[in-house]
């Protein structure tokens, strides 16, 4: 793992990010009848060289956040500051320049590559859109270098995507993301479509590229084990909001939000010895609809600690008052009125692999 290099000045700062999709009725003249609150007030910062993991279940808004970061969706409200400049207000040339620096790796390696283009055309397309990055004569060489960097044979340049396996296609997608030498890569579930034995290859590749190219990652996934492996800090999302955020050990070993605790305790651990002495929190019910989220704390409908206060008062994402004076890992941002630490990930009987 690259050393955690959290600098004082964040490279990306997200404040009050909101995305509502209007629900409309009518055939020709549409009338808004409500809104799906996919993302409803998200704040976080990403330091240079850092990996921020964002986890959550389907429908929590994590993919929508990713799309807004790379400008595929326009936020309804809020700011995304790249090196201090708000990219949501940009357009034209300024926006194009910023886009170069924030690139995305997609989830599905089967739909994210144009089947009618050769690998060379796919990886070379960024240079056609941003011709200032590489003069025409150099492009073929650059594409071959990129293939080499991601662990593919540079001679594959004239092949079509369907001639590659899922893992190889994901490498092609990563090469395309690297072409413009971005500073930030937003990866939306980059390994979830791959076979177990191939996942590790791609994760290792992402790890290696980070130190080689000084990348900062926003790594979005539902698999908590993979997120822990790759992230320096982790944010947990539920129904459009971040409920808890902190360094990886703070979240995994000292979670204080009940949702994080339930999520962590539900992850199957590949250790049959653990099944007897593991405490599992089984949540009841399903995630409420983001078109009609519960008042107050959004998790209260499934929370075993919920009280009247949770219904009336929205808990803020901050260090809970009871931990504010300590310096131990429990003192991190958690949006719960009744935050308390609970160990849910068994650690005692395992050798410590942290370097």
């Amino acid at each position: 793992m690259p050393a955690m290099t959290k600098t004082a000045e964040p490279i990306l700062e997200v404040t009050g990010l909101v995305k509502h999709y209007p629900l409309t009725q009518g055939i020709l003249f549409k009338k808004q009848v409500g809104a799906v609150r996919a993302v409803d007030g998200v704040d976080f910062a990403l330091g240079a060289g850092e990996t921020l993991g964002i986890v959550g279940e389907s429908g929590c808004g994590k993919s929508t956040v990713a799309k807004m970061l790379v400008n595929l969706e326009k936020p309804t409200a809020g700011t995304i500051k790249y090196k201090g400049e708000d990219i949501t207000k940009m357009s034209g040339r300024a926006l194009k320049a910023v886009r170069r620096n924030i690139q995305m790796v997609f989830q599905d390696p089967y739909t994210s590559l144009n089947p009618r283009m050769t690998v060379g055309d796919i990886i070379g397309e960024p240079y056609e859109i941003h011709p200032e990055v590489a003069p025409k004569g150099d492009r073929r060489q650059k594409v071959q270098d990129l293939l080499d960097v991601v662990g593919l044979n540079p001679e594959y340049i004239n092949r079509y995507p369907h001639q590659f396996s899922g893992g190889q296609r994901q490498r092609i997608g990563i090469a395309r993301g690297l072409a413009l030498r971005p500073e930030i890569i937003v990866a939306d579930e980059p390994v979830s479509a791959l076979d177990v034995s191939v996942q590790a290859q791609v994760i290792n590749l992402l790890d290696r590229l980070q130190s080689e190219f000084d990348l900062s990652y926003v790594f979005i996934a539902h698999d908590l084990s993979i997120v822990r492996h790759i992230s320096d800090r982790v944010g947990v999302m539920y129904l459009g909001r971040i409920v808890e955020i902190g360094r990886d050990a703070e979240i995994y070993d000292h979670p204080t939000h009940p949702y994080t605790q339930a999520l962590l305790s539900a992850v199957p651990v590949p250790d049959p010895e653990a099944r007897e002495h593991r405490e599992r929190i089984i949540l009841t019910g399903d995630v409420p609809s983001p078109a009609n989220p519960p008042s107050g704390c959004r998790f209260r409908t499934r929370c075993w600690k919920a009280q009247e206060r949770c219904e009336l008062e929205v808990p803020l994402l901050a260090v809970p008052a009871e931990f504010r004076l300590t310096t131990d890992p429990t003192a991190h941002d958690s949006a719960c009125h009744f935050a308390e630490e609970k160990h849910v990930v068994p650690t005692d009987d395992l050798d410590d692999g942290v370097k």
Partner: protein, 324 residues
Amino acid sequence: MPEQPYEPEGAIAATGMGGAMDLAMSEAETLEKGPGDGNGPSDKPRSLWSDAWLDLRRNPVFIISSLVILFLVVISIWPSAIASGNPLKCDLANAQKGSAPGHPFGYDGQGCDVYTRTVYGARTSVTVGVCATLGVAILGSVLGGLAGFFGGIWDSVLSRITDVFFAIPVVLGGLVLLSVVTSSTVWPVIGFMVLLGWPQISRIARGSVITAKQNDYVQAARALGASNSRMLLRHITPNAVAPVIVVATIALGTYIALEATLSYLGVGLKPPTVSWGIDISSASVYVRNAPHALLWPSGALAVTVLAFIMLGDAVRDALDPKLR
């Protein structure tokens, strides 16, 4: 289309198997590079088009129908190559006569040579079919494609307009609109077909553009900062054009048949234009005395329409990704 030698390969082997089958057919080679990487993917580029072309070349339906169409195209460009006579030079003295030396198909009611008229009629049919299809395909796919890509109010408006056009019965519309036209050229008929035909293509183009637009690779191009025109031309059109081609090919045959129908009803083409429809119409009056005058133009029409529809079918089979 580039011609590629066919080489069976794991990549497309899953044909015909259910999605539940977890066969890693395409996982044919290792990720390791460097020495010993002799078993990488085959180096021959294979795209949808080259796969489709391979499929077509092995399909007898395609070969027969394209030979028929090729022949039709040749005789409509040089009808004099196989028919030395003049289709408009008629002698009433020969009216309704059967076949004679140099006039294998006999004569029609006006004493014109049926063989010459049938050969020259091909030009009209092919012109009408090709021009109407081109007009419909261009107008329909541009309107439908743009509506699908940009969406919003224009999409809603266009969808309602196509609904209106779908409600017009084609033959009735032809009787009403074309009966006021006096020109004897093919253009009013072609114009009418384009006017009523474009909504069909526009609907298909709109649907396939919307499908292609949702693909991650279009999003990926957008995230790179690609312009709308790049996304449309480079990413969406190549992936959305196949259904349009298929439907247009099948429609071509129906336009030829529609021209004959309108001409038969007297609102399509008018003499002195030579057309199968006109000949069928006039021959039907004296069908008992000279059935051959009806038989030959109708036969030519049927074979032509069938050839285009079969071609369309073969192209659809080759391009339909669900079958491959």
